[in-house]
Each structure stands twice: as C-alpha cells, then as structure tokens.
C-alpha cells in the first residue's frame, strides 16, 4: 500500500512544480546509409528515420499518460552528418538537412540533432562542407539542429575552427535576421561534447553508440526550488549542507522519473536504453526556473556575488542524487543556465545583475556554458570567436563539457530585447566589452595545445 505522503508529494511535483520529462531522444545511426550518390543517401536516411521513429511520438504519449508525467519533447539525434555524408559538397549538405527536416516532420518529432562535425584536431572534407552549410541549412529548415565540437581536453582547441564558427554564427544570424537570428538558437559550439546528449541543440549520436538508442532528459528546476523553499520555511536554520542534501534527494526523484519513462519507451520500441541526462532544464515559465533556485538559496538574483558558489553546490548535489538514482547517467547532467529560456535568468540580464563575464565565470562549474546568450548584432566575428575560445578553454582545462550558443541579433543593440518564441523564450541583449580588441589573437589561428594532465593547479 502506498502512503498518503508518497502519493500527495508526487502529485505536488506534477501539478504545481512543473515536473516533466523534458525530452525523449531517439538516437539513430546513419552510418549504414552512407553512399557516394546524394539521392541514394537521402532516400536511405529518410527511410531509416521514418521507419525507426514512426512510433516514437505515440509511444512517448502512451507512456506519459500511463504514468501521468508528460513527455514535453520527442526528438531524434543522428550520427554526425559530416561523417555520414562526408563525400558531399556544402550545397549537397543543405539538401541533406532538408531531408532530415522532412523526416522529422513526417514522424512529428520536435527537433532532429546531428547536423554536426567534430573538428577538435582538424577538418576532414565532410567537416568543412557541413560547417559551411550550417547557416543556410538552419535557415531553410525548422527542426534541424547543428553542433560543432572544436576542442577537447586531449586535443586542445582548434582555433581555426573557433574562428570559422565565429563567421558561421554571424552568417546564420544574418540569414534569419527577420527572426532575431533564430538560426543561431539551433547551433552549439562545443568542447568535450558527449556522444549521448538528449538535449538540443547539441544532441547527436556518437560513433560509439548503438545503432538505435533512447536517451532521456529530465527536468525539474521547479521541484528543486519548491523543496528548498519548503525546507527553509519549516526550518530557517538549515545550513548549506542540509540544503545540499535536500537538492540531492530531489534530484534522485526527478532522475527516477526520467529513467522509468525512458526505459519503458525503449522497451516498447524494442531498442536499447542509453542514459538519463540529469540536467536541470528550465522553461520560460514562472516556477520552472533555475534562476529562481538562486533566490531560494538567499541571493537577490542569479548573477549576484555568490552565484558561482551556489551553482557549484547545485550542480554537485544534482549529480550526486542523479548518480544514485541511475546507473546510466550521461549527456550533460548538470544545471543549465540558458539566458532566454529561463524567465528568471532573462530578468536578471534585463536588470543588470548578469553580465557576459559573470555568466562565463559560472560556466566553469555547471553544464553547459554560454547558452542562448543574445549579443549585439554588430559584434565582430573575431569577438564572437574570442568569446567561444574563452568558453572552450574553460571546458578543456577543467576536463568538462562547455558550449557556446550565441546569438548576435541583427540590427539590435545591447539593452534591446530579442524574441525567439516558444521554449527558446526572449532575452535582453547583453553588452560585449572591448569590441574588436581580440582580432589579432583570433587571426593567428592554429591549435592551442592540449593541457598537461599532471600539473593541475
């Protein structure tokens, strides 16, 4: 027999605290679709995705209904297109993106990730073709997401790729100028990209992954916030150690939900279950915010002094709880701080609590990085590349994943508002310091060597 407390507290999480499964992402390998002929490749890709994923949305909805936990997004992640479609030109890569978009629409998933390249140590032909195709591919499709890994702890930072991505981001923004540079919201630049991320825009299916696999991304910042509020209201003398314990237990519960639903979806589709990604993923709704957790822990706002310490504690507690809840944890697994996607963080940016520099500092202790950060439209390419380089350096040296999802909003200046819509939300454009001063450094190019692994200070 269940206890009243078990039932009522679970209902509270669902009804008032925005607990949901943020995404069930079906990874599909495209490596066996490879061909030197574009039409053959496209038809194989379409056939494989629509065949494997035809029941994904229905099954997710059925399992969500069974447990009373909504699966908000159903997504697909494919092998890096730069590898699977290596023989093709940039124009042909755009047509591959269109095929992915068609397939995604046909099976009714929200996004398809994997228009991706891994170039931390250099470019292959397919990588160059794919990267150059990104602006057009993201502009002419709705559901395709792109990611490029330009750095790793073992390879260092490919600064040629960093510079190129600065140009690509700028071009992608210009191609969607009428939508505040929306294409850039579907593009992530990574260091140490994991092979099993279920979240967009970074999701792709790594080479070491199964042919087909389910990875699940949970949510639950609202649940964590409410748990902290309840505990502090009941006992104002709780210490940070006590509160860390509460976050840990809450993360455990949230992760269990994700794993239960992910495994059942995988079983029903008769495919492997991969990982649960523990990331606290906010939405632009009141009560579903990572930023609000900072206020519950005593800060005036995210961005105030103390924010990096709070985020470090939050991230660690989430990992500890999640790791106990599931033996198969992966992806990014931390707290997201996406500026426009979190109502409270966007407000902090608007109120001047949060600067680009403070955000960058915070990314050294969280997953994933400078996420959904709107920049002035006239930010030079070299400055964008330098911001990416700084973010990559944090990931490479700290042996963690970091990413940059930057949106230079065409025609808009710092302090103005950029609107992306839906889960992507809206944000005040953050000022960028010392525009233009990074040009000479960025133009040097080459690869910043991999760091030593023994002298760790």
């Amino acid at each position: 027999m269940l206890t009243e407390r078990e039932i009522v507290s679970t209902l509270e999480m669902l009804k008032n605290e925005h607990l949901d499964v943020r995404t069930v992402t079906l990874g599909i390998s495209l490596l066996d679709c490879a061909s030197h002929d574009l039409d053959t490749f496209r038809s194989r890709v379409k056939e494989k995705i629509t065949g494997v994923a035809k029941d994904l949305v229905r099954v997710c909805d059925e399992v969500g209904d069974k447990y009373g936990i909504p699966v908000i997004n159903k997504r697909i992640a494919v092998s890096p297109v730069a590898v699977a479609a290596a023989p093709f030109s940039s124009e042909q890569m755009v047509s591959v993106a269109l095929t992915l978009d068609e397939a995604a629409r046909e099976v009714n998933v929200d996004f398809v990730g994997g228009f991706s390249a891994l170039v931390e140590k250099g470019f292959a032909n397919g990588d160059i073709s794919l990267i150059e195709a990104i602006p057009e591919a993201l502009a002419v499709t709705d559901r395709v997401c792109a990611s490029v890994n330009v750095a790793s702890t073992r390879a260092g930072i490919n600064m040629d790729a960093v510079y190129l991505m600065g140009k690509i981001i700028k071009a992608a923004a210009e191609k969607t100028a009428d939508k505040d540079g929306l294409a850039c919201a579907k593009l992530c630049v990574f260091a140490n990209i994991p092979e099993d991320i279920p979240f967009m825009a970074g999701a792709y299916l790594g080479i070491g992954e199964p042919d087909v696999v389910i990875n699940v991304g949970v949510s639950g910042p609202g649940v964590v916030k409410k748990a902290i509020d309840r505990a502090r209201n009941a006992n104002p003398s709780l210490t940070l150690g006590d509160l860390s314990e509460i976050i840990k237990k809450t993360a455990f519960k949230v992760t269990r939900v994700g794993e239960l639903i992910g495994r059942e979806v995988a079983d029903r589709l008769n495919v492997a279950f991969g990982v649960a990604d523990l990331s606290l993923a906010p939405t632009p709704n009141v009560g579903d915010s990572v930023g609000e957790i900072f206020q519950s822990l005593g800060l005036a706002s995210i961005g105030s002094p103390g924010s990096t310490a709070v985020l470090a504690m939050l991230n660690d507690a989430v990992k500890k709880g999640g790791a106990f809840a599931s033996s198969y944890v992966g992806g990014l697994s931390g707290a997201f701080i996406p500026v426009s996607e979190d109502l409270n963080i966007a407000q902090a940016a608007r109120d001047g609590f949060l600067s680009l520099e403070k955000l960058e500092a915070m990314t050294s202790v969280c997953s994933v990085g400078l996420d959904m950060v709107a920049l002035p439209g006239d930010t030079p390419v070299e400055t964008i590349a330098a911001i990416i380089a700084d973010e990559m350096a944090i990931g490479v040296i700290n042996k963690k994943t970091t990413a940059a999802r930057l949106i230079p909003v065409p025609g808009k200046k710092a302090g103005e508002k950029a609107c992306f819509g839906g889960l992507l939300g809206e944000s005040t454009i953050l000022p960028v310091m010392d525009k233009g001063s990074s040009e000479d450094f960025i133009r040097i190019g080459g690869r910043i060597p991999a760091p030593t692994q023994s002298l760790v200070n």
């Binding site: 027999m1 269940l2 009243e4 679970t10 669902l14 009804k15 447990y67 269990r256 939900v257 239960l260």
Partner: protein, 190 residues
C-alpha cells in the same frame, strides 16, 4: 504453542470509537480460545476505528459462539462485532490479470463524488483495492483529495476507461489523475 493453519476460517470485524487496548482485548480472547490470527488490518477515520481479522479457529469452536464471547467482552467499550464464516465465492475471485493504478481526485467536496467515480470503475470491472480521503477540504478545495488504488484488468479498453473517468470528473467539477502505481514507487522508494 504451534500454529495450526488449517480448519475453518472466520472473518471478524470490530467497529467503534477508537481508544487504546481494543486490538489487545480482541487478540487476547482469540488467543485464549485457540484461534490463530492469519491476517489483520485496522484503520481509523476521525475518531472511529474499524478492524478486520481473518482467523483460523480450532475444531469445535463455532463462529456464533465466538461472536457472543467477543461481543460480551467488547460491549463495555461500546464496540460492535461482526463475525462470519469466510466463504470464497468463485464469481468474485479476482483472477483477471490486471495492473495496479492510482486514481486521485482533487477538488471541492460535494455529494455523489465517490459514487460518481466508483460507478465508472465498476462499469469497467476495475477493482478498488484501497480507498482514502486524504484531506478534509476546509477553505481550500484543492486540499480535498481522494485516493483510489485500483487494479485495472489488462483486457479492457484503457483509453476508453481513462476518457470515461476524465469525463465523469469534469462533470463533477474535480481534477482527476490516473497513474500507474510504479511511478509513486520509483520516486519514493529505493
């Protein structure tokens, strides 16, 4: 003393205002008469207690005799006793394969709430295994929660059942959730 789990089984239910010592009194009389308690459950609603015992009784002891004996003992406490022989009616043996679900309704209290929801369950052959009211509504109707633990036969049209329940809840002006029991276990139990 060795326990004999054979022979006749009887069901004893005790009802009355709760106070310390009720179960102890019943158990002592059962023990003194050679009866073995095989199963027992008790619950308290507001100030009232209901307890149900399934007991195997020794040869020679009859149900009506035991009832008189217990009633004499419990009368001074204002308690009522019902004793009946346990008979398995094959018509109602729940051998249909089912899955455990939890139905919760949240909303203002009103006449016919339980009748309305349980009628739908009965129509679909869904068996209630546990039923509780968690909060008395008071000034906050959202705090009025009913919990039904149920077994849903696998062979019924689950979608139709879900819809029928939701429609009935809407007609009654309450919010209804139907969730597999496993979600509560996964979240709360290691």
């Amino acid at each position: 003393m060795n326990v004999q789990k054979k022979g006749k089984k009887i069901v004893i239910s005790v009802l009355g205002t709760d106070r310390p010592g009720i179960v102890a009194l019943v158990a002592r009389h059962l023990f003194e008469n050679g009866c073995n308690i095989e199963d027992v459950n008790q619950t308290r609603l507001q100030t009232e207690l209901a307890a149900i015992f399934i007991v195997s009784i020794p040869d020679g002891l009859e149900a009506h005799g035991l009832r008189s004996l217990l009633q004499d003992a419990l009368d001074p406490l204002g308690l009522h006793v019902l004793v009946k022989e346990m008979v398995t009616d094959e018509r109602y043996v729940h051998n249909v394969e089912g899955e455990p679900f939890v139905v919760t309704t949240i909303g203002p209290d009103r006449l016919g709430l339980v009748a309305g929801i349980t009628e739908v369950m009965a129509d679909f052959g869904v068996n209630i295994t546990n039923l509780r009211a968690v909060f008395r509504g008071g000034t906050d109707p959202a705090r009025n929660i009913m919990i039904y633990e149920v077994d849903i036969p696998k062979d019924i049209d689950q979608e139709r059942f879900r819809k029928a329940l939701k429609d009935r809840a809407e007609a009654l002006g309450i919010d209804l959730n139907l969730q597999h029991r496993k979600i509560f276990e996964e979240i709360n139990r290691i």
